[in-house]
């Protein structure tokens, strides 16, 4: 036993990073889903570069929140809904998960709507694209293994490059972009403030916390390897905002400059064609399809996991239907509802999205507060609780986000009535 059988090469740490990478980057990219792309397009088209500075603080807060989730996942090996159930009991968990279920359902509508409208740009009817999309999603998860699915997801992440390419194709004035990026200013009138809240709300969504932590816990990462997980989360948070940056730039450089008002991401893609060329438009549409499919694959699954874990029902795609009926039932229901409603004629999609945004706005502060309580619990987190500085910063972020969420709820409710 003199010779070591597997000598540790200098690549070891790089290999560990590659093995552990995934949850953070995938979560962040799913975050740029149909809803996200729509919001960023609107921000760029309707407000130019004026909101682009907000991506810097958003990146910071995203790293802050996601780092805590990843840390909880690594230290406890449990998902967030699991921890909330154990700490706060079944009553709180039940109502919280019910709200999460509703807001996620709203997001799933959005993803299928994204699949429908992106393919309509290429002339494919939604009555073909949506059922096929739903089938693809369902098969991917039910028939695929965790490893293969994760690889598909990582490849999907690469397709976000399309937005970066279209960003350059739009030929923005980079000097203006950079100066706007470095000069934060808040316009306190309702419309731009609402847009700002929308951008923040779509980037920092409740479901991400659950998905990220569950995925990290699933990887069974050792505490000593936590630094790699942290790197994964930080890289992911930057990637999400870089993509957002380019989407805003594309729309600002073309649509805003020419005074074209849009309401959806589809409008954005279509209006891009005459201004920046049909390839730019096609890339934009393809990006939307990729993002929608990607998020549609993850959201229903993540929702079913989150709910079943919290309620104590068997879950996991490696279980049979009879072993985990609630899990498969919920998963299938979410896809069928999400895809089905898009196909109904005259769906008031806009109001469905509004309601989902309101619930989103209520759920997010609640989850942040629960997270901060749990991560400061010595019994749960041992020596890995937040330090004082981190606590001050994160409580401040939590209060600001809650304030913005309440504002969003208020303004959405007012716009409906």
């Amino acid at each position: 036993m003199k010779k070591p059988l597997f000598p540790r090469s200098r690549w070891r740490s790089w290999l560990i990073f590659l093995a552990l990478v995934g949850p953070g980057i995938i979560t962040s990219n799913v975050d740029n889903d149909a809803g996200g792309i729509t919001t960023y397009s609107l921000a760029g088209a309707n407000f130019g570069y004026s909101l682009i500075w907000s991506l810097i603080p958003i990146t910071f807060v995203l790293v802050l929140i996601q780092e805590m989730c990843a840390r909880m996942g690594v230290v406890t090996g449990k998902g967030l809904s699991d921890l909330i159930r154990e700490k706060f009991g079944v009553k709180v968990t039940f109502y919280l998960l019910f709200a999460v279920l509703l807001t996620n359902l709203g997001n799933i509508f959005g993803e299928f709507a994204g699949i429908a409208s992106s393919l309509e740009i290429f002339g494919i009817s939604r009555y073909v694209s949506v059922p096929l999309g739903a089938l693809f999603v369902w098969l991917l998860v039910v028939k695929g293994t965790y490893k293969s699915v994760e690889k598909v997801f990582l490849v999907a992440c690469l397709f976000y490059v399309t937005y970066i390419i279209s960003g350059f194709m739009a030929k923005p004035q980079w000097s203006v972009v950079l100066s706007e990026l470095s000069s934060p200013k808040i316009d306190f009138s309702i419309a731009p403030l609402g847009m700002l809240v929308g951008v923040i709300g779509t980037t920092i969504a409740p479901w991400m916390q659950f998905y990220l932590q569950a995925a990290v816990a699933e990887k069974n990462i050792k505490v000593r390897d936590y630094k790699y997980s942290k790197a994964d989360v930080i890289v992911g948070s930057f990637v999400v905002n870089i993509v957002a940056f380019f989407i805003i730039v594309v729309c600002a450089a073309t649509l805003y400059k020419n005074g074209i008002k849009i309401e959806t991401a589809k409008d954005a893609a279509l209006s891009l064609a005459p201004l920046a060329g049909k390839y730019c438009s096609a890339l934009f549409a393809f990006g939307l399809l990729n993002a929608s499919l990607f998020a549609a694959s993850i959201l229903p699954l993540s929702t079913a996991y989150t709910v079943c874990e919290g309620m104590g029902w068997e879950n996991g795609v490696n279980k049979k239907f009879s072993e985990a009926p609630q899990f498969y039932g919920l998963y299938t229901l979410l896809i069928v509802l999400g895809a089905g409603i898009i196909l109904l004629p005259k769906v008031p999609l806009i109001s469905v999205m509004y309601i989902s945004q309101i619930i989103n706005g209520i759920v997010l502060p609640a989850i942040l507060v629960f997270m901060l309580i749990i991560i400061n619990d010595k019994k749960i987190m041992k020596n890995y609780t937040n330090d004082k500085l981190l606590n001050i910063v994160s409580w401040m972020a939590c209060i600001i986000l809650s304030g913005l969420s309440i504002f969003l709820v208020y303004s959405t409710v007012r716009s409906i009535f």
Binding site: M1, P4, L5, F6, R8, T76, G77, K78, D82, R85, E86, G89, V90, K91, T93, F94, A217, N220, K222, M311, G312, E314, N318
Partner: protein, 423 residues
């Protein structure tokens, strides 16, 4: 509680947060938890845990001080307020709310991990005992306060009531751990977990989080631990054995089949492997070191030493005696290998031919001289090819001088070709 001497069941969630009053009806505090002493089939509640207004500390009071359980409150015997003590939890005690309610437990009867929705208690005379654990939807509804309305609804529509899903406490193994050594607080004095089939236990372990997993593993007997370790996936194997103490790890490795143990050890950092091997008894250690000397992916690395080899000039009687003394798996003992004085492989005898020949028969006369064999350095894929081509159950492994060094069974080949195979 002598007014009725009745046996009544009550749910823990119904007791929790009830007010505690003295005999005059003055409120002392509220019930926040119950402490139970483990070890009995249906363990007794020993203490009430009480929160007093404007005091952050939790106090305890012996259950015997409870006089009456009323609808809204618990009435204590006189002078109870002076008997309050600060909360302490002993080695064989468990807190129902803190460590059981909403937590995961092992159901050793249905062999699965369940989450506790409620606990079912029996009021027997002046005692309160823990009898069932509630895993059902009904338990969730009860705690949400919806039982009556949902019952009314389902009875109206379907003449159906959501049933109780209770399991006797004797089948439950909580996952709460001792503060010090992180071992499980065992429910009963004997180990219920050891009775679960190793493959099922391996599945259970995979469903748990990493701390619970380790605690369960640590609570298993050596034999059960070794068998379970053989069943879990390689990554988990490493995590479990690496985090256990070196001493126990050595003991577990001794219990494992040598080839499985060697596979596992070859995946660990060299210094750990060394330490674990040093802790093993000499014969087992020699065996393992021999196996570990072969590079990954070769016949030598997956072979076992569980075989019987005899000399040409020995008799069938001798062979049968050796066979009876061996305790190898059945597939490892279907052949007996015959060597010359230098240990070179000369032939093979089947168990069947041994049983039907006269006991004085020389082995050299009944052996089959055409033995299919593999070399130490042969690739595992080549070995598998041979198994397929010749329909083998087991094949001997020889070195460059044709000396027998070990055997590979069908099972070993399947395991090494499909390491991630689940099911």
């Amino acid at each position: 509680m002598n007014e009725k001497e009745s046996k009544v069941f009550i749910f823990f969630s119904e007791l929790l947060r009830r007010k505690l009053s003295d005999s005059q009806g003055k409120i002392i505090g509220k019930l926040v938890d119950l402490k139970v002493g483990l070890g009995e089939l249906f363990p007794k509640v020993v203490c009430l845990c009480i929160k007093i207004k404007n005091n952050r500390q939790t106090f305890t009071l012996d259950w015997e001080r409870v006089d009456k359980i009323e609808e809204e409150k618990l009435v204590l015997k006189p002078e109870s307020a002076s008997l309050l003590l600060p909360l302490e939890v002993g080695e064989k005690e468990i807190l129902l709310r803190e460590e059981m309610l909403d937590k995961q437990v092992v159901d050793t009867y249905g062999v699965r991990i369940e989450r506790v929705n409620d606990l079912h208690l029996l009021i027997a005379g002046s005692e309160l005992r823990l009898v069932h654990v509630d895993f059902g939807i009904r338990g969730i509804l009860r705690r949400l306060g919806w039982v009556k309305s949902v019952d009314a609804l389902t009875e109206w529509f379907f003449s159906y009531k959501i049933p109780q899903k209770l399991l006797s406490w004797k089948y439950i193994q909580p996952l709460s751990r001792h503060a010090g050594n992180q071992a499980l607080k065992l429910n009963l004095t004997h180990r219920k977990l050891d009775e679960i089939h190793p493959s099922d236990l391996a599945d259970l372990l995979e469903d748990l989080d990493k701390h619970e997993r380790l605690a369960v593993f640590k609570s298993l007997g050596l034999e059960a631990a070794a068998e379970t370790l053989e069943e879990v996936e390689p990554k988990l194997q490493r995590d479990l054995i690496e985090t256990d103490t070196t001493e126990r790890a050595s003991d577990i490795l001794e219990e494992m089949a040598p080839d499985e143990a060697a596979d596992l050890l070859s995946e660990l950092p060299p210094e750990k492997t060394e330490a674990m091997i040093q802790g093993m008894e000499t014969t087992k250690r020699k065996e393992l070191e021999g196996l570990l000397a072969h590079p990954e992916g070769t016949a030598g690395s997956i072979m076992t030493l569980d075989y019987i080899a005899l000399k040409e000039n020995e008799t069938a009687e001798e062979a049968l005696r050796r066979f009876k003394r061996s305790d190898y798996h059945s597939e490892s003992s279907s052949y007996i290998y015959i060597t010359d004085d230098q240990g070179k492989l000369k032939g093979v005898v089947t168990l069947r031919s041994l049983l039907i020949c006269p006991s004085s028969t020389l082995l050299s006369t009944i052996m089959n001289r055409r033995v299919i064999k593999v070399k130490l350095e042969d690739k595992v894929e080549e070995v598998a090819e041979k198994f397929k081509k010749y329909n083998l159950l087991m094949v001997p492994v020889v070195d460059g001088e044709k000396k027998i060094k070990g055997v590979i069974t069908f099972h070993d080949v399947v395991d090494s070709i499909f390491p991630d195979f689940e099911g």
